[in-house]
Symmetry: D2
Subunit: 403 residues, 4 copies
């Protein structure tokens, strides 16, 4: 039997942390005794918990503590974090601490350093008196990597006690919700972010084009609500196909008939842009005169197109080296305060992996499985909305003001 | 080996009937030889087919012919339909002809009678020189019931050769479509039906209330686009709950927070209507002053609420005897030219069973499985749309004109 | 400002009740101050909470208290429950207490009576010194109905602290789970129920027949694992269609080709059973010799078939009067300890409405929306499994032992 | 008005080509007159069609002909294909012919050359008297590229007239099918391919690991049914996580409880393999001793892991340069006669893009939208099965023989 004193504080009850903590103990076959528990007496007070945890053996205690640390617990007693050198390039020491996306502090030289570039699934490196997240592949031999659990403090995002004013969509994914109210609240969140100088990222799948919502999305770009566009090759290809083959797409827009043989059009669109040397030259030369990509170029909205195994072409702008694509995505997300994911599980998860837990993510998809999957990855930060993405973009453009 | 000469005519190729016919033959292990085939030379001409079918044994030939008749084939030679008396009340003779929902003629006394009250899964009874569909349970001992396959002609609804102008949504169920175009076309279809004096039925699930679309649907009622409302207990209960507990629903509409404990509200709503003696008395007494059911009463729109095993209460208006409910539904559907099914698989299938194939059905649901299931039951007549039902109703109200 | 002292005890934290309680207070715009909180020191101890709740006005306090009572809270001070007479047949007094499905006690004459026939959405009647649930429609004028909130104690099912041993499938609906482990645990649960003399109900949709799993389900019946079968008309119709038209279904089983024109077969199956006078006469006469319904008759397993608006026929056994069908379902569920719902949202919700919260419900469907919907209605008692229902039944039959 | 004589032959009716051809004409606002039509008189005969097509203008005729060529039509008169040089590297001439995945012949120097490396969305290059598909990005300046439509013949895969024996799962996606029969037929198809010396590719998502089906899949590898494995980083990571952290996964397998905090395990698994230098070194050194990747190494089954934007790590084996990954996938698919796609839309579409239409694709997923999407891309060649992937793999391993 091994024993450990564990402490934490915060909105333990209404953020459900306390339940999670007790669950974790029981799940690992350990037991606990509450030594001190001071509950917040009112909505605004923190609760404080100190408990004695008993586990049958060291390995289990270690696993359990790892989980408790993620819930904001720390072992009593203040120690510096243990550092070990990365053994080779691209590799952490075996016992490296793998980060969550929550705000984290590391104790070094007796001082608590806030970890920079917080993201999940990274190692923490101490360098020049600063602590920062670094992906495994970016580690260099000899980097001083935080190992084990001493001297680490995680602060899970509290779901605020008044979360009913805020997180209006939490509490399960359902298509049976009052969608228009949700759109209004998302519009408000976007306006607040813009008002406070924050940036808004849109992560967009080709469905936005297929459903005819591209024109509304263009409105959002023109009116300055899109600070960065993250997408794949397909969004740009189908957007440009629409712009270049307007007539046949015009027919289709009139009749609603899916244009069979459209694969020829999208390949010609790709070929045309390849010949032009890319999207920006195509805009500059007057070849491309409308659509989402055109508006981005005109408005100088940065975009990053990440490749995938199913891509045709690709467009010259599409980054097929995914190490570079991930780095470019991450860089583009700097200072983003809210990311709106429209019908793309692939790029949505990619973005979710890169963001710290205090950046809000709004995920819209008609498929509840996609929304559930994205929300499950970070329920405190992700708002899921099961609705028709095309109609959503239309509504959002309306609520944000405009034509 | 048994042999049979089979004939048919119509838009055999572009309605895919010819494919279905050949498939049926091969599937039953029979074979065919085309004796005559005259293809329609232009878009407007019929094709004519005569073929010799060979099957290994009589039973198989019989099964095959049953299927071929449903595709509009007939055996060469003109015979009257065979009639046998119903053996007891509620029962057909063993070899009764079970109807499809396509237009059907029966040969009797040398004349071809068009079958009245066409619907699927019924028997055909000859009475007073007329032929009509009758459900098994409505047969009475001695009714003269059409048996076997002689003297029966079915005319499958041809998908018109210009169906690309009309059936813009056929060709697969998908949520990746240009929804707004589809809504526009549905609005046109409704306007056409109204313009030609036809009636429009809406078959509505409670999601229309849950998603906040009830107010748009009320618009549709007030402006005369709803000639009959078919629904279940739940639609009316949740609509009335909204009307009676406006304040708490008001809070919810403002915040978008699902009101937990709502079960108390809906039970009180039921209790209040039960005490009032029904929906119409509740409107008359001033208890019920808004909502879908209120507008129906005010506008004298007939409604039928069919019970189900999961119903609470029920409301006094809900018909818990389903034999009566089915009869009332069928009666309410007389002269309906288009039925719009909004997020209710149960009542949608119920209605689909009752309608002849020349009444159009539009089926809207966010769940592609529901749309697929409804469309699979009658692909020539059903248009499926995978989208957010709440936003659809909003859009439909806009496209049909109004606030 | 109105104030109330509220108390409760139990596994408040790990059952998440405390979070729910605080949420409810905040959501209603009220506030709380914790007066006493004694946390269970170990896994086995209860926690106790006393708090002062302040609300801006009486109406809000009333709404809030209703919700808190459902979470197991009571106002300090012991009063008898208030009784008011039902004003007319089929109606409760306006302020009747609408039940949840949790175990409930009512204080009457200074004694706490456990409520009998516990189910949700009912009124509580005091009669002959006993308290019992009664549906609105079963109330008779003058029945003494419990009103308001005094003298009511609800005991929410605690999710046990070791729920990780038990409720292995809680924590979200997903198709990405280790299904075979789940089947094993469900098999164990069924064996435990049978071992302790409890009854097992199966609520079954026609998909069990369509997917070819009927033969495995027949095994379960023969081996005594099915104590009651609840279903709709369609299950019985398609099961009997398979039994009577074995040859053509034989073909289909061999080739896997969907038999088109099958509607004729199912109508003939219905007609044959109607002529025989029902399922049991059809078994007695030797007409029906295999299938789910046959096995039920042979094994004297009671079955109830509830009608729906989409039914063909129906079979003579199908109860089309839903008031009677609900009563027969409820009666058949007496002493049932576990209900397994296989691919039927309609009948699954119907059954869910009738069961107290201490009867376990297992819900299996390939559609996550169906599972989510059923689980959302009672997360403490319902285990949801997203998998192929046909393969599930096969696996379950294997794990429960047999051929 | 422009006119053109168009001819074709084949199983025009039962392969639905004739319907598609007439549809295409009408959809483009053109009209047709059938000049000759000789229908196949029996199951085994071809049909032949010659028709005069009239279109309002040249552009429309061109679009229409493009579509008709894809359906196997050709204009009367025999001309060589027009060749134009690629203008720059990575670019085709504007009017290049973009391939379908059907078998294609090109007329060059008066001879018909069968196109090699057939795949969709490519250009056709004539080189050394041979015709071959080449992706846009692989074109080099001066390559002689087939342009326009002359001298091109496409042979759509005919769905055989006895397709009911073969394509047992066509005719719509549904979860209400007899799955076990389908599994049996897929097992047969795999055995046939193996028996004739063909290769079998599996394209596998991580769900196979999450659902506990990895051990059954390992059986398939060991018994030689997997000739090539195509997957992403996640499959390998979670497989290796299972292999390395067996104990904690053992606990999870026993209890079925999702292991929270599992992100630490998968990151350590990645780190361990990175340190080892890759999967094969990890097997060689004895670090990795079980699981899917281990079995591949042991059995020398080639695998290609393609990167994606959401990847953690990645493993050293994962190819993050997608141009290389696509080339490696395509190379690995050489001589593959059947590809089984298990729960991965991303890699499934990627593979679908690379295969000619005569390679069968079986797509298994619990989500009908995924199956529909994959099948829609090539309905003649893709068999879709909506079922639980984990249970499917178990069944498949059983039907193919083994433990």
């Amino acid at each position: 039997m091994v024993e450990e004193i564990v402490e934490t504080e915060g909105h333990l009850i209404d953020s459900r942390l306390m339940t999670e903590i007790f669950d974790a103990v029981v799940k690992h076959g350990a037991s606990f005794e509450v030594m001190q528990f001071a509950i917040g007496r009112t909505n605004n007070d923190y609760s404080r918990l100190q408990m004695r945890v008993t586990a049958p053996e060291t390995g289990i205690m270690q696993d359990l503590l790892e989980e408790l640390v993620a819930f904001g617990c720390r072992t009593a007693g203040e120690l510096d974090a243990a550092l070990q050198p990365a053994p080779i390039d691209g590799c952490a020491p075996d016992d490296f601490y793998s980060t969550s996306n929550h705000r984290t502090w590391v104790r070094h030289g007796g001082r608590w350093l806030e970890v920079e570039r917080q993201r999940m699934d990274a190692a923490i490196v101490i360098e020049d008196g600063r602590a920062m997240c670094r992906k495994l592949r970016d580690l260099r031999k000899g980097d001083r990597v935080v190992c084990f659990l001493d001297g680490i403090r995680v602060v899970p995002e509290f779901r605020e006690r008044d979360r009913h004013g805020f997180a209006f969509m939490t509490g399960g994914i359902s298509s049976e919700r009052h969608v228009e109210t949700s759109v209004e609240r998302i519009a408000e969140m976007i306006r607040e972010v813009k008002g406070s100088g924050g940036r808004v990222a849109f992560v967009v799948g080709p469905v936005v084009v297929h459903t005819g919502a591209a024109s509304y999305f263009c409105d959002l770009i023109r009116r300055g609500f899109v600070d960065v566009l993250l997408a794949g090759n397909a969004l740009a290809v189908h957007d440009i196909e629409g712009a270049l083959y307007g007539t046949s797409l015009g027919v289709s827009l009139k009749t609603g008939v899916p244009v069979e043989g459209g694969h020829r059009h999208h390949m010609r669109a790709i070929n045309a842009i390849r010949r032009a040397g890319g999207i920006q030259p195509a805009v500059a030369s007057g070849l491309l005169t409308s659509g989402v990509m055109y508006e981005c170029v005109k408005k100088s909205v940065p975009y990053v197109l990440a490749g995938s195994i199913r891509d045709d072409g690709p467009l010259p702008d599409t980054i097929m080296d995914l190490v570079e694509a991930q780095d470019r995505y991450a860089e583009a997300l700097t200072d983003v305060k809210i990311a709106v994911v429209l019908s793309t599980m692939l790029h949505g998860i990619g973005v979710g992996n890169m963001l710290p837990s205090w950046v809000k993510v709004v995920c819209v998809d008609i498929n509840p499985s996609v929304v559930t999957k994205l929300v499950d990855r970070g329920s405190a930060q992700t708002l899921g909305l099961v609705t028709d993405t095309g109609l959503f973009v239309h509504q959002l453009a309306q609520k944000l003001g405009g034509p």
